[in-house]
């Protein structure tokens, strides 16, 4: 069976100053129907850019190479009505609901707009469906909410509204771009539970973008780790934390403090994350990698198949035991 979403060799360049600079290099990933894929990395690693490329929301002037297929159709070739149709099948939940919901329109307008404008659904039916959708994202008495304005709602409530709105057109793929990052911790857990529950219940495919390896592991079947515009490791989520194959994945896992053991000093990754266009010839992570050797600085590792996944590290096989021991 072919995957629902198939991205291969995706390279994106954005005009910065005079010259286009790459923000994504050779990104490949697949999501099967009903599967959840996590996309993890630091700020600027290209996670959001990947989702934007899929949703065709790249800024003007972006140069795109590679192939993006949704259910077999080439997304990059879609225009006009076909593109709008696709967008009702691929829904996006953005990071900051406060900025991503029009502040001067009512919640009811926001929820029903897509249905009424793209689905030719009557106002009354759209309203009924909006109330049902609010109910599904655990907003009781949603009808009361429809006349409110976004500034009258809390961030968590607004994010639920955004999720409800995304689900109203009955998409098959949900692109969630750090949907909980702008929320406080308790609300984060609730919103995450809602997304996870709805996904399982509806058999949605999910691309879940986060900087939190453990959170990705909790909701995703597989997780891809990005660094400097490239995917460095894609493995079943359960394996990533205990048995990372890429030193960067291991460092990300270690950077998250454990609740059960007390440490004198929080672990950090030395150096700063690189942008894709700053990457030298060798491995992008080499400068910050404690395991880097000379070949790492001159040869760029390609993604290679390993047990149950892929990794792009020249020393993946050597380090397998070391990383599992020190970070497992």
């Amino acid at each position: 069976m072919s995957p629902l979403l198939e991205v291969s060799g995706l390279t994106v360049r954005l005009p910065v100053g005079h010259q286009p600079k790459p923000v994504l290099s050779d990104v490949s990933l697949t999501i099967a129907a009903g599967e959840a894929l996590g996309l993890v990395g630091e700020s600027g690693s290209g996670k959001s850019m990947t989702a934007r490329a899929v949703a065709r929301l790249l800024p003007p002037g972006a140069q795109v190479e590679g192939d993006i297929r949704y259910a077999g159709t080439d997304l990059r070739a879609l225009r006009g009505q076909q593109l709008r149709e696709l967008r009702t099948r691929v829904a996006v939940v953005f990071q900051d609901p406060r900025a991503h919901v029009n502040p001067v329109r009512r919640i009811g307008d926001f929820l029903t707009e897509a249905l009424r404008l793209t689905g030719r659904v009557s106002r009354r039916e759209a309203t009924d469906r909006a109330v049902r959708a609010l109910d599904e994202v655990a907003v009781a008495d949603g009808r009361r909410l429809l006349d409110r304005y976004p500034h009258q709602l809390s961030g968590g409530m607004l994010q639920r509204v955004m999720i409800a709105a995304a689900l109203l057109t009955e998409p098959r793929l949900l692109l969630a771009d750090e949907p909980t990052t702008a929320l406080d911790v308790t609300t984060q857990a609730e919103v995450m539970a809602i997304i996870d529950g709805l996904r399982r219940q509806r058999g949605l495919s999910l691309l879940f973008i986060t900087h939190d390896l453990d959170l990705a592991a909790a909701v995703c079947d597989r997780t891809a780790v990005m660094y400097a515009g490239r995917i460095v490791e894609t493995r079943p989520s359960a394996l990533l934390h205990g048995h990372p194959l890429h030193p960067y994945t291991a460092a990300l896992g270690a950077a998250r403090p454990s609740v059960t053991t007390r440490v004198d000093r929080l672990a950090t990754i030395p150096g700063r994350p690189l942008s894709a266009f700053e990457v030298p010839d060798g491995c992008a992570f080499a400068a910050r990698c404690v395991y880097a050797q000379d070949p790492c600085r001159t040869h760029r590792p390609e993604l290679a198949s390993v047990d149950e996944g892929e990794v792009a590290c020249l020393r993946a096989e050597d380090l397998r035991e070391t990383l599992a021991v020190t970070h497992g």
Partner: protein, 314 residues
């Protein structure tokens, strides 16, 4: 919303009170003797002067005259014209229609053409945008009396499409006669509104919530209409309100140039002939209209943006 409106109404009353005082004071302090107008510059016998001073309350203390004048004005009595021996209220009422029609016509042009050109420039970067930007930059700097002269030269003299003078008769005739004056009055404000529309729509199109709308498969025209233009309407309404208010004052110039029998032209005549009651009356009416239109603009902006009614940000 109710609280906001109550607050605005209170502010409106205070503004009107202050401006009525300024109008009264200003006209009283202006040089010139109203008795000279009455007498036609002949010397009068002292008894006649005394009678006239008595009739026009010229000897009462300043504040007493102000309070009496304001009290009458609130009841619709603006006194008697010295030059024409008629009620000022009647004189104003017979001319207010022309000015109101002129300003309404001009503000319709400001909104329609301003938003139209602004939107065009915002959505068509490149040659169209540059042309609108250059054109509006020039138009913003043109005062109404220059615009009036240019419009007369082109559309009345050279092309003979519209009349250059007078009020005309019948609805169509009046509209035809008001067309050039309205465009002359509207030109600079139209350009200002076009520039604000362009900037505001551009800015809104770059906002995240517009991206959300696009990501949901909503067609581009609907995104522009329902999100970009809808949100840009807030600054546009504010500016359009202010422009309309200022056009009430600028109407005087345009009415003079086009020989329209409106309030503004009459104000100029009355001021030249030291017809104090008329000057005060017209000033009061114009200031009231100015303040009312400004408030209306604010209320419309508040109705367009639900966040404004919150707190005291307005």
């Amino acid at each position: 919303m109710a609280g906001y409106l109550a607050r605005r109404a209170a502010m409106l009353l205070v503004t009107l009170l202050v401006s009525s005082f300024l109008v009264f004071t200003g006209v009283t302090l202006a040089p010139g003797d109203p008795l000279a107008t009455l007498s036609g510059n002949r010397s009068l016998p002292p008894e006649t002067v005394a009678v006239l001073r008595e009739r026009y309350h010229l000897d009462d203390p300043f504040l007493v005259r102000y309070v009496a004048w304001l009290g009458d004005a609130v009841r619709g009595d603006l006194g008697v014209s010295i030059a024409q021996r008629q009620d000022v209220s009647d004189l104003i009422a017979s001319r207010a229609g022309t000015t109101a029609a002129l300003v309404l016509y001009a503000s319709a042009i400001v909104v329609a053409a301003g938003v139209g050109f602004g939107l065009l420039a915002a959505l068509r970067p490149g040659i169209v945008d540059s042309m609108v930007v250059a054109g509006t930059a020039a138009a913003v700097a043109v005062p109404p009396f220059i615009a009036a002269i240019v419009l007369i030269a082109v559309f009345a003299v050279a092309l003979d499409w519209f009349p250059a003078f007078g009020t005309g008769s019948g609805l169509l005739g009046q509209i035809r006669h008001l067309t050039l004056p309205a465009f002359a009055l509207a030109a600079a404000s139209t350009a200002a509104v076009a520039r604000v529309t362009r900037t505001a729509v551009r800015e809104e199109l770059g906002r995240e919530h517009v991206q959300t709308a696009v990501s949901r498969g909503i067609s581009y025209p609907a995104v522009v209409r329902r999100h970009a233009l809808r949100n840009a309407a807030v600054p546009i309404a504010t500016l359009a309100g202010m422009s309309t208010a200022s056009m009430i004052a600028l109407a005087a110039v345009v009415e003079r140039v086009f020989g329209l029998n409106g309030l503004g032209a009459y104000l100029v005549n009355a001021a030249l002939s030291k017809d104090i009651a008329v000057v005060q009356g017209i000033c009061l009416v114009l200031v009231t209209a100015f303040v009312l239109v400004n408030t209306l603009g604010d209320v419309v902006a508040a109705a367009l943006d639900p966040r404004i009614t919150l707190g005291r940000r307005a």
